[in-house]
Amino acid sequence: MAASMTPMEDAIRTKVTAALAPSSLEIFNDSHKHSHHKAMQGTTSQETHFRVYITSEQFEGKRQPARHREVYTLLKDELAAQGGIHALQLRTKTPQEVAATEAK
Protein backbone atom coordinates (compact mmCIF):
# COMPACT_ATOMS: atom_id res chain seq x y z
CA MET A 1 0.00 0.00 0.00
CA ALA A 2 1.23 3.51 -0.74
CA ALA A 3 2.57 5.62 2.11
CA SER A 4 -0.13 7.61 3.87
CA MET A 5 -0.65 11.20 2.78
CA THR A 6 -1.41 12.11 6.37
CA PRO A 7 1.14 10.35 8.59
CA MET A 8 0.77 12.82 11.49
CA GLU A 9 -3.01 12.65 11.54
CA ASP A 10 -2.77 8.85 11.37
CA ALA A 11 -0.34 8.82 14.28
CA ILE A 12 -2.63 11.05 16.37
CA ARG A 13 -5.64 8.86 15.61
CA THR A 14 -3.83 5.58 16.29
CA LYS A 15 -2.15 6.67 19.53
CA VAL A 16 -5.09 8.53 21.04
CA THR A 17 -7.48 5.70 20.16
CA ALA A 18 -5.19 3.05 21.64
CA ALA A 19 -4.41 4.91 24.86
CA LEU A 20 -7.64 6.74 25.66
CA ALA A 21 -10.38 4.70 23.99
CA PRO A 22 -12.24 7.94 23.18
CA SER A 23 -16.01 7.88 22.74
CA SER A 24 -15.46 10.73 20.29
CA LEU A 25 -12.32 11.85 18.47
CA GLU A 26 -12.23 14.71 15.99
CA ILE A 27 -9.01 15.78 14.30
CA PHE A 28 -8.82 19.01 12.31
CA ASN A 29 -5.77 19.85 10.25
CA ASP A 30 -5.47 23.65 10.35
CA SER A 31 -2.01 23.75 8.81
CA HIS A 32 -3.12 25.62 5.68
CA LYS A 33 -4.17 28.55 7.86
CA HIS A 34 -0.63 28.91 9.15
CA SER A 35 1.52 28.05 6.13
CA HIS A 36 2.55 31.69 5.64
CA HIS A 37 3.39 32.29 9.24
CA LYS A 38 7.00 33.09 9.96
CA ALA A 39 7.79 30.04 12.05
CA MET A 40 6.77 27.83 9.13
CA GLN A 41 9.44 29.11 6.74
CA GLY A 42 11.31 26.18 5.28
CA THR A 43 8.73 23.66 6.42
CA THR A 44 7.22 21.58 3.66
CA SER A 45 4.99 19.43 5.87
CA GLN A 46 1.25 19.87 5.32
CA GLU A 47 0.65 18.61 8.85
CA THR A 48 1.95 21.17 11.33
CA HIS A 49 -1.14 22.60 13.05
CA PHE A 50 -3.83 20.42 14.54
CA ARG A 51 -6.98 20.86 16.56
CA VAL A 52 -8.00 17.70 18.37
CA TYR A 53 -11.24 17.20 20.28
CA ILE A 54 -11.17 14.15 22.51
CA THR A 55 -14.00 12.82 24.65
CA SER A 56 -12.94 9.99 26.92
CA GLU A 57 -14.03 8.37 30.17
CA GLN A 58 -10.36 8.20 31.08
CA PHE A 59 -10.23 11.96 31.68
CA GLU A 60 -12.58 11.50 34.64
CA GLY A 61 -11.14 12.92 37.84
CA LYS A 62 -8.23 14.63 36.08
CA ARG A 63 -7.73 18.34 35.78
CA GLN A 64 -7.25 19.95 32.35
CA PRO A 65 -3.43 20.27 32.56
CA ALA A 66 -3.16 16.57 33.45
CA ARG A 67 -5.38 15.66 30.50
CA HIS A 68 -3.38 17.78 28.08
CA ARG A 69 -0.10 16.39 29.42
CA GLU A 70 -1.40 12.88 28.82
CA VAL A 71 -2.02 13.69 25.16
CA TYR A 72 1.29 15.54 24.80
CA THR A 73 3.10 12.52 26.21
CA LEU A 74 1.38 10.23 23.70
CA LEU A 75 2.50 12.51 20.86
CA LYS A 76 5.93 13.30 22.25
CA ASP A 77 7.83 12.08 19.18
CA GLU A 78 5.52 13.85 16.72
CA LEU A 79 5.87 17.14 18.65
CA ALA A 80 9.64 16.86 18.95
CA ALA A 81 10.35 15.86 15.35
CA GLN A 82 11.88 18.45 13.03
CA GLY A 83 9.03 19.54 10.75
CA GLY A 84 6.62 17.63 12.99
CA ILE A 85 3.60 18.99 14.85
CA HIS A 86 4.18 22.66 15.60
CA ALA A 87 0.87 23.53 17.26
CA LEU A 88 -1.70 21.33 18.91
CA GLN A 89 -4.98 22.73 20.17
CA LEU A 90 -6.74 20.36 22.51
CA ARG A 91 -10.24 20.03 23.86
CA THR A 92 -10.33 17.23 26.38
CA LYS A 93 -13.64 16.31 27.98
CA THR A 94 -15.40 13.43 29.64
CA PRO A 95 -18.71 12.18 28.18
CA GLN A 96 -20.46 13.63 31.29
CA GLU A 97 -18.96 17.08 30.66
CA VAL A 98 -20.07 16.99 27.02
CA ALA A 99 -23.60 16.00 28.08
CA ALA A 100 -23.68 18.82 30.66
CA THR A 101 -22.60 21.37 28.02
CA GLU A 102 -25.19 20.13 25.53
CA ALA A 103 -27.95 20.28 28.15
CA LYS A 104 -27.36 24.02 28.67
Binding site: H37, K38, Q64, Y72, K76, R91
Partner: protein, 161 residues
Protein backbone atom coordinates in the same frame (compact mmCIF):
# COMPACT_ATOMS: atom_id res chain seq x y z
CA UNK B 1 6.49 46.37 30.07
CA UNK B 2 10.24 47.04 30.14
CA UNK B 3 10.50 43.93 32.30
CA UNK B 4 10.43 41.85 29.14
CA UNK B 5 14.05 42.70 28.54
CA UNK B 6 14.91 40.64 31.60
CA UNK B 7 14.44 37.52 29.56
CA UNK B 8 17.51 38.09 27.48
CA UNK B 9 19.94 39.47 30.01
CA UNK B 10 18.86 37.29 32.91
CA UNK B 11 18.73 33.89 31.33
CA UNK B 12 21.52 34.21 28.83
CA UNK B 13 23.89 35.44 31.49
CA UNK B 14 23.17 32.46 33.69
CA UNK B 15 23.02 29.89 30.96
CA UNK B 16 25.93 31.27 28.96
CA UNK B 17 28.62 29.98 31.26
CA UNK B 18 27.21 26.49 31.27
CA UNK B 19 26.82 26.51 27.50
CA UNK B 20 30.43 27.08 26.59
CA UNK B 21 31.86 23.63 27.42
CA UNK B 22 28.93 21.97 25.67
CA UNK B 23 29.97 23.55 22.38
CA UNK B 24 33.44 22.06 22.67
CA UNK B 25 33.72 19.55 19.78
CA UNK B 26 36.41 17.57 21.61
CA UNK B 27 34.02 16.39 24.31
CA UNK B 28 33.10 12.73 24.26
CA UNK B 29 29.41 12.02 23.80
CA UNK B 30 29.20 10.54 27.28
CA UNK B 31 30.58 13.71 28.77
CA UNK B 32 28.33 15.83 26.59
CA UNK B 33 25.34 14.08 28.14
CA UNK B 34 26.58 15.10 31.60
CA UNK B 35 27.05 18.65 30.40
CA UNK B 36 23.53 18.70 29.09
CA UNK B 37 22.19 17.67 32.50
CA UNK B 38 24.26 20.45 34.03
CA UNK B 39 22.87 23.05 31.63
CA UNK B 40 19.38 22.04 32.48
CA UNK B 41 20.10 22.58 36.20
CA UNK B 42 21.43 26.07 35.47
CA UNK B 43 18.50 26.81 33.18
CA UNK B 44 16.11 25.48 35.78
CA UNK B 45 17.44 27.97 38.32
CA UNK B 46 17.14 30.80 35.82
CA UNK B 47 13.55 29.81 35.04
CA UNK B 48 12.80 29.51 38.78
CA UNK B 49 13.67 33.18 39.13
CA UNK B 50 11.85 34.11 35.90
CA UNK B 51 8.65 32.48 37.18
CA UNK B 52 9.04 34.40 40.45
CA UNK B 53 9.46 37.87 38.89
CA UNK B 54 5.72 38.65 39.13
CA UNK B 55 2.51 37.03 40.41
CA UNK B 56 1.38 36.49 36.81
CA UNK B 57 4.00 35.36 34.31
CA UNK B 58 3.42 34.47 30.68
CA UNK B 59 6.06 32.81 28.52
CA UNK B 60 5.12 33.77 25.00
CA UNK B 61 6.34 34.27 21.44
CA UNK B 62 6.87 37.97 20.84
CA UNK B 63 5.86 40.75 23.22
CA UNK B 64 2.44 41.72 24.61
CA UNK B 65 2.40 44.67 22.17
CA UNK B 66 3.46 42.59 19.17
CA UNK B 67 2.80 38.88 19.69
CA UNK B 68 4.46 36.68 17.07
CA UNK B 69 1.97 33.84 17.29
CA UNK B 70 -1.83 33.65 17.35
CA UNK B 71 -1.91 31.58 20.53
CA UNK B 72 0.32 34.06 22.37
CA UNK B 73 -1.92 36.87 21.11
CA UNK B 74 -5.05 35.12 22.37
CA UNK B 75 -3.45 34.54 25.78
CA UNK B 76 -2.56 38.22 26.14
CA UNK B 77 -6.11 39.17 25.14
CA UNK B 78 -7.58 36.85 27.77
CA UNK B 79 -5.36 38.32 30.52
CA UNK B 80 -6.41 41.80 29.36
CA UNK B 81 -10.11 40.89 29.41
CA UNK B 82 -9.71 39.43 32.88
CA UNK B 83 -8.31 42.75 34.08
CA UNK B 84 -4.92 41.52 35.23
CA UNK B 85 -2.99 44.37 36.83
CA UNK B 86 -0.06 45.22 34.50
CA UNK B 87 2.10 45.87 37.55
CA UNK B 88 1.61 42.29 38.64
CA UNK B 89 2.36 40.84 35.23
CA UNK B 90 5.53 39.99 33.34
CA UNK B 91 5.90 38.46 29.89
CA UNK B 92 8.98 36.65 28.68
CA UNK B 93 9.65 36.44 24.97
CA UNK B 94 11.01 32.95 24.30
CA UNK B 95 11.97 33.92 20.75
CA UNK B 96 14.71 36.10 22.21
CA UNK B 97 16.34 33.28 24.08
CA UNK B 98 16.73 29.77 22.70
CA UNK B 99 17.82 28.47 26.10
CA UNK B 100 14.59 29.73 27.62
CA UNK B 101 12.51 28.43 24.74
CA UNK B 102 13.85 24.91 25.13
CA UNK B 103 14.20 25.10 28.91
CA UNK B 104 10.67 26.20 29.72
CA UNK B 105 9.23 23.18 27.93
CA UNK B 106 11.26 20.83 30.09
CA UNK B 107 10.70 22.89 33.23
CA UNK B 108 6.92 22.63 33.05
CA UNK B 109 6.85 19.30 31.20
CA UNK B 110 4.71 21.10 28.64
CA UNK B 111 5.75 21.07 24.96
CA UNK B 112 4.06 24.22 23.70
CA UNK B 113 4.14 27.98 24.19
CA UNK B 114 2.50 30.15 25.57
CA UNK B 115 2.54 29.01 29.18
CA UNK B 116 0.88 30.81 32.06
CA UNK B 117 2.12 30.82 35.66
CA UNK B 118 0.25 32.34 38.60
CA UNK B 119 2.14 32.62 41.89
CA UNK B 120 4.86 30.35 40.46
CA UNK B 121 2.33 27.63 39.69
CA UNK B 122 1.86 26.39 36.17
CA UNK B 123 -1.72 26.97 35.02
CA UNK B 124 -1.70 25.87 31.38
CA UNK B 125 -1.50 26.91 27.75
CA UNK B 126 -3.95 28.86 25.58
CA UNK B 127 -6.62 26.15 25.40
CA UNK B 128 -6.75 25.85 29.17
CA UNK B 129 -6.74 29.63 29.62
CA UNK B 130 -9.59 29.87 27.13
CA UNK B 131 -11.75 27.19 28.76
CA UNK B 132 -11.03 28.64 32.24
CA UNK B 133 -11.90 32.09 30.87
CA UNK B 134 -15.22 30.75 29.58
CA UNK B 135 -16.23 28.75 32.64
CA UNK B 136 -15.26 31.47 35.10
CA UNK B 137 -12.51 29.56 36.87
CA UNK B 138 -9.78 31.88 35.57
CA UNK B 139 -11.56 34.93 37.00
CA UNK B 140 -11.89 33.09 40.31
CA UNK B 141 -8.21 32.11 40.38
CA UNK B 142 -6.95 35.59 39.49
CA UNK B 143 -9.24 37.20 42.02
CA UNK B 144 -8.15 34.83 44.79
CA UNK B 145 -4.54 35.60 44.06
CA UNK B 146 -5.25 39.34 44.16
CA UNK B 147 -3.69 40.11 40.79
CA UNK B 148 -6.57 42.02 39.20
CA UNK B 149 -6.84 45.78 38.84
CA UNK B 150 -8.24 47.28 42.08
CA UNK B 151 -12.01 46.86 42.40
CA UNK B 152 -12.62 50.57 43.25
CA UNK B 153 -11.26 51.63 39.88
CA UNK B 154 -13.57 49.38 37.92
CA UNK B 155 -16.52 50.35 40.15
CA UNK B 156 -15.79 54.01 39.50
CA UNK B 157 -15.70 53.50 35.76
CA UNK B 158 -18.92 51.50 35.72
CA UNK B 159 -20.87 54.10 37.75
CA UNK B 160 -19.67 56.94 35.54
CA UNK B 161 -20.77 55.21 32.34
Amino acid sequence: MNKIMLSRSGLSALAGQALRPYRNPLLSSRFAALQRAFISTETRKAIDSAVATAPVVLFMKGTPETPQCGFSRASIQILGLQGVNPQKFTAFNVLEDEELRAGIKEYSDWPTIPQLYVNKEFVGGTDIMMSMHQDGSLAKLLEEKGVLVEAEESDASSTSS
